[in-house]
């Protein structure tokens, strides 16, 4: 599903990833961990093409996406559900619309939208907040809306960047349980986090980054 071959990413004054190679099979659930600033978010950004790699090749579903034409980018992105570290909610839309947008962008029939959005909101326990606006939500609630939006369209690949940074351990466990269920139904899932409790005892593969280099791999 995902393959990095000697991928490097340089920002103006900083090298965020240094000749990184790894691959994730279709249907796998993998954790990426590492200290703050080690390049976890950058790695995910290279997959949904928010940034392009400076060296090496990135393959997603067999496509070499790093040299992908601009016009194909939205097609790629619609196959992926992303939980952004900074949430990226739309602050002038209700919670319902914030989740529904993922379906609308994919052209899902309007009659299906309501049921699927409410299902997704129920999973993150926020069904009762569907009419609120994001700024009237707590930090953890906003993060859960971001999760609901990432999973509602049932994408084949889910990238979650620190998806439990603002929620309590019980809610975290619930979220990981949800990801595992979705993974069991066939979706590939990549989670960047430094919350060890998340991957402890999951039996899933864990990749450890440090200063832009892979420094270890293990089973959570």
């Amino acid at each position: 599903m995902i393959r990095f071959e000697d991928v490097s990413k340089h920002y103006d004054n900083h090298t965020a990833l240094r000749k990184v190679s790894f691959s994730v099979e279709r249907g796998e659930m993998v954790f990426i961990t590492g200290p703050s600033g080690s390049g976890k978010s950058t790695l995910l950004k290279l997959i949904y093409l928010s940034e392009r790699a400076d060296e090496g090749s990135v393959f997603v579903s067999g496509w070499e996406i790093n040299t992908m034409r601009d016009s194909d980018v939205p097609v790629l992105r619609r196959k992926i559900g992303v939980v952004y570290q900074e949430f990226r909610l739309l602050y002038n839309m209700s919670v319902f619309e914030n989740v529904a947008i993922a379906l609308r962008i994919r052209g899902v029939d309007e009659r299906e939208v309501k049921a699927r959005v409410f299902d997704s909101l129920k999973i993150v326990n926020l069904r009762h907040k569907s009419d609120n606006y994001p700024h009237a939500l707590s930090g953890g609630e906003q993060q859960r809306i971001a999760i609901a939006r990432a999973i509602v369209a049932e994408p084949i690949l889910i990238l979650a960047d620190e998806p439990t940074g603002n929620v309590d351990p019980d809610t975290s466990a619930g979220i990981i349980r949800t990801f595992k269920e979705i993974n069991a139904r066939g979706a590939t899932i990549l989670i960047a986090t430094h919350n060890r409790e998340l991957f402890r005892d999951t039996g899933k593969r864990t990749l450890k980054l440090d200063f832009g280099n892979f420094v270890g791999e293990g089973i959570g």
């Binding site: 097609v75 947008i101 962008i105």
Partner: protein, 291 residues
Amino acid sequence: MSLPYSFRVAISSLLHEKWINFLSMLTMAIGLLFTAITLLTVYNIDLMTKKLPEKFSIMLYLKDSLAREEIDTLIEGIRQDPSVDRVFFIPKDEAFRELKATLRNTEYILDGLGENPLPNSIEIKLKAQLLGPESVKKLTAKLKEQAGISEIEYGEKFLASLHSVRKGMNTIGLVFLIVLSTGMIFICYSTVKILFYRKDEEIKTYKLLGATKGFIRTPFLIEGAVIGTGGGLISCITLVSLYYTFIFKLSQTFPLLNSMYFPVELFLALPAAGLLLGIAGAIIAIGRIRY
């Protein structure tokens, strides 16, 4: 993506920040209003200067020796000329009466004269659109060759200054119209651009979610269209109110204004212009969407 959805998004976005959107609408209204006022002013000045040529005529003073039939053929010949609009024959008696009227209180000056010393004359009015120093020169040169005409008189100076006034007015008017319209269109564009500037993050989120260009643009275009049309409607209403409160009232005391022309099409064109500007502004403001 369905259009009704885009409409809902646009409307909710418009309402969500209604004050700032209303402010933009007002700004566009002002831009359109002033373009309309300038257009009207330039147009009316042009109309007025077009009427000026009516006052211009060429006078032919005829020799007393000319018989009535000779005069008639002369007039007929002049009528054939393509630049001539109308020709009047003024008998010497009528000219004398006019002179008397002109001298008014001092008409006793003429009392000493036994006989009417004035000649018969012909007045020629030219077609307004052909009126100019060259065409008049050509016609008078032709007339000079005719027998029986003792003198040809026309306001050379008047004609020249009339011509320069018209040219000047039209040039200034046009320059002003172009400068002002450009300025006002720029203001409309700039308002939408500054308004949409803070939507950068929103657009980036849409892009990251995989939305197509059309999906992203449509709600913004609708927003721009609503703001533009709103601005156009406000400017239209303001123009009508201005017309009734000022021009209409003033024309009672100042009749020149009565002849001003207010084409209904212009009033109807304002919302349409606003719509176009709003959409165009939104398109340019959002810019090329690159992934």
